[in-house]
């Protein structure tokens, strides 16, 4: 196998909380010892419920948040150890698109200024070259350059997300994190943006970390998928392998919860008992055991390791070790 493009090793992030009048210091681990590789040119999908740490992980990978431990290798450089100036240079190569395009655009900037900002910060080219670059990017995401003098509120939701994508591509990054990039969009627009992301990947040779809570969307775009629960990867495999051969009970429950637009489907919903456990007071052993119908005595005691169950299919569950 070729050298992975992004290599994440034992990445951990703890947050501390001061609670109550007596300022009792507690904390929780949002990302707990996560290791994974993202190969050049692939779409790596990350799924999980809200609060499972998937967005924290994406921020750590881009070093928009400082990790407490572990390493993120971009090629052979550990970016977590880079000094600020070098980090800035590497940021050109790593960009992110967020969920709500409206929240990530300055409402008082024109589209032109929004597009120019990353180019100016990184001192990219001359004025004329920048203008040409913006035209090129607008063409790539099918935005009309007549709109350059407009403001974000004058665009529709889909156009705003196109703008965010164009901006993130301004510095020709190789790696793009899409954090719930289509979740806030209407279904017809969601389809347009998903197709656009796949086209851009081919056109610019991009690598994606694609984060979503929607399993059907993740399945559609990803080459490989990691399922995250409670700050840990619980299952990781090639997309086809994962769906043909679901091993972790949490993945199975996620799958069965996906609403199926087919009234004829006989799918029996496998409904999870409510609620992700409290992060502050985590259950012992496997974090999923309070909601797991297969949980045994060992699951309450001991946290399962992520192991290879064959064909590169990694899973963290005691049920598979016997």
């Amino acid at each position: 196998m070729a050298e992975p493009f992004i290599r994440i090793e034992n990445l951990t992030k703890r947050f501390s909380i001061s609670a109550g009048k007596r300022i009792r210091k507690t904390g929780f681990t949002a990302v707990n010892n996560v290791s994974l590789n993202i190969e050049r040119g692939e779409v790596f999908g990350l799924v999980g419920e809200s609060g499972c740490g998937k967005s924290t992980l994406s921020l750590l990978v881009l070093r928009l948040l400082e990790a407490n431990g572990g390493a993120v290798y971009h090629g052979d450089t550990n970016i977590l150890e880079l000094p600020r100036r070098k980090m800035r240079r590497i940021r050109r190569d790593m960009q992110i698109v967020f969920q709500d395009p409206y929240d990530s655009l300055d409402p008082r900037f024109t589209l032109e200024r929004i597009m120019n900002e990353p180019l100016q910060i990184h001192r990219w080219g001359t004025g004329a070259e920048r203008e040409a670059r913006i035209d090129e990017l607008f063409a790539a995401v099918s935005l009309d350059k007549q709109q350059l003098k407009r403001y974000p509120h004058q665009l529709s939701g889909g156009q705003r997300q196109r703008l965010c994508i164009a901006r993130s591509l301004a510095l020709s990054p190789g790696f793009l994190v899409c954090d719930e990039a289509v979740s806030a969009l209407d279904v017809s627009i969601q389809a347009q943006i998903l197709n656009l992301l796949l086209d851009l990947k081919d056109e610019f040779g991009l690598t994606y970390l694609f984060i979503s809570h929607n399993l059907a969307v993740v399945k559609f775009v990803s080459d490989r998928i990691g399922v995250m629960y409670f700050g840990k990867i619980v299952e990781l495999a090639d997309t086809d392998e994962l769906f043909d051969n679901v091993l972790h009970p949490y993945t199975a429950a996620l799958l069965s919860a996906v609403p199926d637009p087919d009234p004829f489907s006989e799918k029996k919903r496998d409904i999870l008992p409510s609620g992700v456990p409290s992060l502050i007071d985590p259950p012992g052993g496997c974090a999923f055991h309070p909601r797991c119908k297969y949980a045994g005595e060992r699951c309450a005691r001991e946290s399962p390791e992520l192991r290879d169950a064959g064909r590169g299919h990694l899973v963290a569950c005691h049920r598979l070790e016997c």
Binding site: V187, A191, F220, V258, P259, P261, D262, I271
Partner: protein, 330 residues
């Protein structure tokens, strides 16, 4: 179906707003009926008029600025003609509503129990002595675990799924005859969404009330409703029972919607796409509102608004080409 079954009838509803020089036409002639015990799914993208339509059913649209024409007949009375006082007796009591984001609909500085009790007392559903017992019963009905202690919680102490259960409990407090659920699961995780849908289905079966689920996600309605109405640009473009709608959709918009959602079965490398955006409601096209995005649009579609026709028994569609498009290969 006999008229005795009919609970709500919307007749040629038109709602517009004046914005500066423009007139924004949010609803352009919607007619639909809801029977006792019926579960209706209302599907459409943002800005298609689905929420405006049902806000007006609840009397939640102040007029002016909204200009409301047409009739909304609930239980023999036109609710658009009711005075504020009369409307207050209907709203929340006979017709209850739950919204997408429960945190925004709950009072953040009031304990859950007090909020439910307030709803119970407001509608005079039970006597003061009984009210806490009833509140507890409601929490159990919506399957809130550990109900007695939850009564003392504030909304921020609960998860999104629990908050939505509390909203449902409050909506059920007055034993409404219609529950309007506007995107009830959109803000929730898939696993929680499945729980809430299951709950709505069960409560509807047990109480026999009618329910309207307003959503942009066809997957949500496929499971729990009887009939589906598809909204586009302020009109119903297609309405049928869910089986016939999903098996043989007729309107190109419905067909597009069904094809553009990635499902676990999607194998294609590219998704089917409905090009373009919804039209500006202040500048609606002259002909069919969908024609600028429709791959099949003909000369006639651009100039003449299609009438709603019954294209198959119980299957209504507003399209000149209804029945001529292959739903599987658009």
């Amino acid at each position: 179906m006999s008229d005795g079954q009919r609970l709500l009838e919307i007749k040629d509803l038109r709602i517009s707003f004046s914005v500066g020089e423009d007139t924004v036409r949010a609803v352009n002639g919607v007619s639909l009926t809801l029977d006792r015990g019926e579960a209706l799914g209302v599907v459409g993208e943002s800005g298609c008029g689905k929420s405006v339509t049902f806000s007006s059913v609840m009397g939640l649209l102040p007029s002016p600025p909204a200009v409301i024409e047409g009739e909304i007949v609930f239980d023999g009375r036109d609710v658009t003609k009711l005075s504020d006082r009369q409307m207050r007796r209907v709203r929340g009591k006979d017709i209850a509503m739950i919204f997408q984001e429960p945190m925004r609909s709950l009072n953040p500085v009031m304990r859950i129990g007090n909020q439910i009790v307030e709803a119970l007392l407001l509608h005079g559903a039970v006597s003061r002595g009984q009210v806490w017992t009833r509140a507890l019963e409601l929490l159990k009905l919506v399957e809130v675990p550990d109900a007695p202690s939850r009564l003392h919680c504030y909304p921020h102490q609960l998860s999104g799924g629990l908050r939505q259960r509390i909203m449902i409990a409050m909506a059920l407090a007055s034993q409404p005859r219609i529950l309007l659920a506007d995107e009830p699961t959109t803000a929730l995780d898939v696993t929680i969404q499945a729980q809430i849908l299951e709950l709505l289905k069960r409560v509807q079966r047990e109480t026999g009330m009618s329910i309207v689920i307003i959503t942009h996600d066809l997957g949500v309605v496929a499971d729990i409703v009887d009939n589906v109405a598809v909204f586009y640009a302020g009109v119903i473009v297609e309405k049928a029972d869910k089986y016939s709608l999903f098996r043989s959709p007729m309107h190109p918009y419905t067909i597009g919607l069904l094809n553009c959602i990635p499902t676990l079965q999607t194998k294609r490398k590219r998704l089917y796409v409905i090009e373009g955006n919804i039209p500006d409601p202040a500048r609606l096209p002259i002909g069919c509102a969908f024609s600028p995005r429709c791959a099949y649009a003909t000369e006639r579609c651009l100039t003449e608004k299609p009438e709603t026709r019954e294209c198959a028994p119980g299957h209504f569609c507003a399209c000149h080409l209804a029945g001529q498009i292959d739903p599987l290969n658009p």
